[in-house]
């Protein structure tokens, strides 16, 4: 939880305890706050995010991928896309950054207990849902059947192949992968991710569907799930917009009346359906 007496705009120093290169342009920073008080007070939920500050360059919102059981060391998986992430990619173990957070409302893990789970991601892999998969992996018996669906444009875009292999070994778990374009030796489905939906195993009356990725993909998933009588309130989407302050002041992440940084980033479909169909919102 964030101490309301602290200035919400000012980061705290954190040290990189480990840096893992996941793929050529994807890396994980495991960080620890240097101030023992800040470190001890830190609590987060799957789907929440931190603002990471690179000295002299700026801040960026990055979701937390590690398990909330250990709030002392916090993992952030980052893709190199801009000025800040390119700089963060150059840091090594022992380097310092600024961190403030956690912010936002994450995935509905408590509400999803004993339910079947469908996780759908698209595009180039999605850190926000990795936190959910990790969370369920740690507490496998608390949830029903687990379906993990990932769609990529090209088979070479699939990251974390070995993680999918690991997840496939979990009890009562289905991992479905699809690439629009498959190269030689791609063992999984070639075609759209939607064509895999028939293989999903879930009870439409007792399921949480969690998704993250391009809006077009999420719309297709929502349509399919609604056709299969899943309630709108059981469809959860992680939304992304420009974020600068993360405390609901700067206005960039507004999505209708929502501030994604504090009312989201995870929304149930019924809360955003009216905006979801409109381009440019």
């Amino acid at each position: 939880m964030i101490n309301p007496n602290l200035n919400p705009y000012v980061p705290h120093e954190a040290i990189i305890v480990e840096r893992i290169q996941e793929t050529p342009d994807l890396f994980t920073l495991r960080i620890e706050f240097t101030d023992p008080e800040i470190r001890a007070a830190c609590k987060f939920e799957p789907g929440q995010f931190n603002m990471l500050y690179l000295y002299g360059v700026g801040e960026i919102a990055i979701s937390i991928v590690s398990d909330p059981l250990d709030c002392l060391i916090i993992d952030h998986t980052i893709r190199v896309v801009g000025r800040v992430t390119r700089g963060l990619a150059n840091l090594k173990t022992g380097d310092r950054i600024g961190v403030r957070g956690p912010y936002g409302r994450g995935w509905p893990m408590l509400e999803s207990k004993q339910k079947d789970i469908v996780i759908v991601t698209g595009g180039l892999g999605c850190a926000p849902v990795v936190s959910v998969i990790n969370y369920i992996e740690q507490r496998r018996e608390e949830f029903g059947r687990l379906n993990i669906v990932q769609g990529v444009k090209h088979s070479s875009d699939l990251i974390w192949k070995e993680r999918y292999d690991q997840w496939r070994k979990l009890p009562d778990t289905k991992v479905l992968l699809a690439a629009d374009v498959g190269e030689a030796l791609w063992p999984w489905h070639v075609g759209s991710v939607t064509s895999l939906f028939d293989q999903l195993e879930f009870d439409p009356d007792n399921v949480s569907v969690m998704m993250c990725g391009p809006q077009g993909m999420m719309r297709v998933v929502c349509d399919h799930m609604l056709d299969n009588r899943v309630a709108e309130s059981q469809l959860y989407l992680s939304m992304e917009r420009n974020m600068q302050c993360a405390v609901g002041h700067c206005g960039h992440c507004q999505y209708g009346s929502n501030f994604i940084c504090k009312d989201g980033p995870v929304f149930s479909y019924d809360k955003i359906r009216h905006l979801f169909e409109t381009k440019g919102f």
Partner: protein
């Protein structure tokens, strides 16, 4: 609290400035600069725009001398309270990196200088109350805004000469101040009706030479209010909130966008717009870096940028974002519309887009 109303002679106005300064306030008031009425530090009543009237039309603003001896016979200028509380640019914090790589952060505390603003209008106070909600009454409190807000004393002057672009009467925010000020003045022919709305205001007011107000003076004030309520522009009377939200795909957005330059003037002068960006500016010696925030506009290309995508790449989408937020989704956020009817976005729009007309075109013609 509402106290008694009193009257003071015009000659007491300088005394008011002096009393405020004696109480430790820096006075900020209206004055003419660059052919507009702006608010800045003021020491003498000579600096007030006495005998000046503003002519405001879509896309135009000019000042004229009139024969009046009044100090406040004009409507407004491009800014009033907003930049005093939510500053256009400010340093939030500073970071330092030592040679061994440690980073320390230092919060920049805003200068807690007490300011008394004289001549704020009802629309400005309504807008400030909205910004109070945004910066002070949500999950996170903005400490910079809070420090300034706690040090602001407001001496409002009821509006007697609304401009052609004003429509505060139809938003319910003016022309007279209901609450939210410390002192409210109404300028009459020979002086001012005055009323304290807070104990701080009362303290200041009782340092002046006050007279009991007469019935004729109260009647004169009522006449001013009644005349100032007759405004040329107004918002249409249909359910704007629902109507705009149901017309997100209307072609009208493209028609407006064909005029709109996406310049952001409207958001700069709007007293309720709160968007701001953050950026880091490293010192040239590389030993420290300053973190600033600065007003931003939803009309800018970068406002909706995220990892290679601009969500609102079209002007029509940006205008729609602004108008739908201001008049529709604002209600869900803050329980009212984000428009206080000050008309600034109309006056200062370089291509004379009139927000009341923009809204009015979404009238449901099927119901006619």
């Amino acid at each position: 609290m509402k106290s008694e109303r009193y009257f003071f002679q015009t000659s007491q106005l300088q005394n008011l400035l002096d009393k405020l300064q004696d109480a430790g306030y820096t006075c900020v008031g209206p004055q003419v600069r660059d052919d507009a009425i702006i608010y800045d530090e003021i020491n003498s009543v000579e600096q007030f725009p006495r005998g000046i009237n503003d002519q405001q039309q879509p896309g135009s603003y000019s000042l004229n001398s009139n024969q009046s001896t009044k100090f406040f016979s004009w409507a407004n200028g491009p800014q009033a309270i907003k930049p005093l509380l939510f500053t256009a640019k400010e340093k939030l914090w500073q970071s330092k990196q030592s040679t061994d790589g440690q980073i320390t952060f230092k919060t920049c505390d805003p200068d807690p200088k007490p300011i008394a603003i004289i001549g704020a209008r009802a629309c400005d106070i309504a807008a400030m109350k909205i910004q109070d909600q945004h910066f002070l009454q949500q999950q996170f409190v903005d400490p910079y805004y809070k420090a300034r807000r706690g040090n602001l004393l407001i001496i409002a002057v009821n509006c007697s000469h609304p401009a052609d672009t004003c429509f505060c009467h139809s938003t319910g925010d003016g022309p007279f101040v209901d609450d939210g000020a410390d002192i409210v003045l109404t300028e009459l022919e020979n002086g001012f009706l005055c009323e304290a709305q807070t104990s701080q205001g009362e303290k200041i007011l009782h340092g002046l030479l006050l007279e009991d107000c007469k019935n004729e003076q109260l009647e004169e004030s009522e006449r001013i209010k009644s005349n100032a309520s007759k405004q040329k522009r107004k918002l249409p009377e249909f359910d704007i909130k629902s109507r705009l939200f149901n017309e997100l795909n209307n072609d009208a957005w493209h028609a407006i966008a064909s005029e709109c330059l996406s310049c952001g003037n409207c958001t700069s002068v709007c007293p309720t717009c709160f968007c701001h960006g953050e950026n880091d500016v490293p010192e040239l010696d590389g030993k420290s870096s300053a973190h600033f925030r600065e007003w931003d506009s939803c009309f800018g290309q970068g406002h909706s940028y995220i990892h290679g995508i601009t969500i609102r790449s079209q002007t029509s989408q940006r205008y729609r974002q602004w108008l739908v937020h201001k008049f529709s989704t604002w209600h869900e956020q803050y329980g009212r519309s984000g428009c206080v009817g000050c008309g600034r976005c109309i006056t200062w729009c370089p291509v004379a887009i009139d927000v009341t007309e923009s809204v009015a075109q979404f009238v449901d013609r099927r119901c006619d």
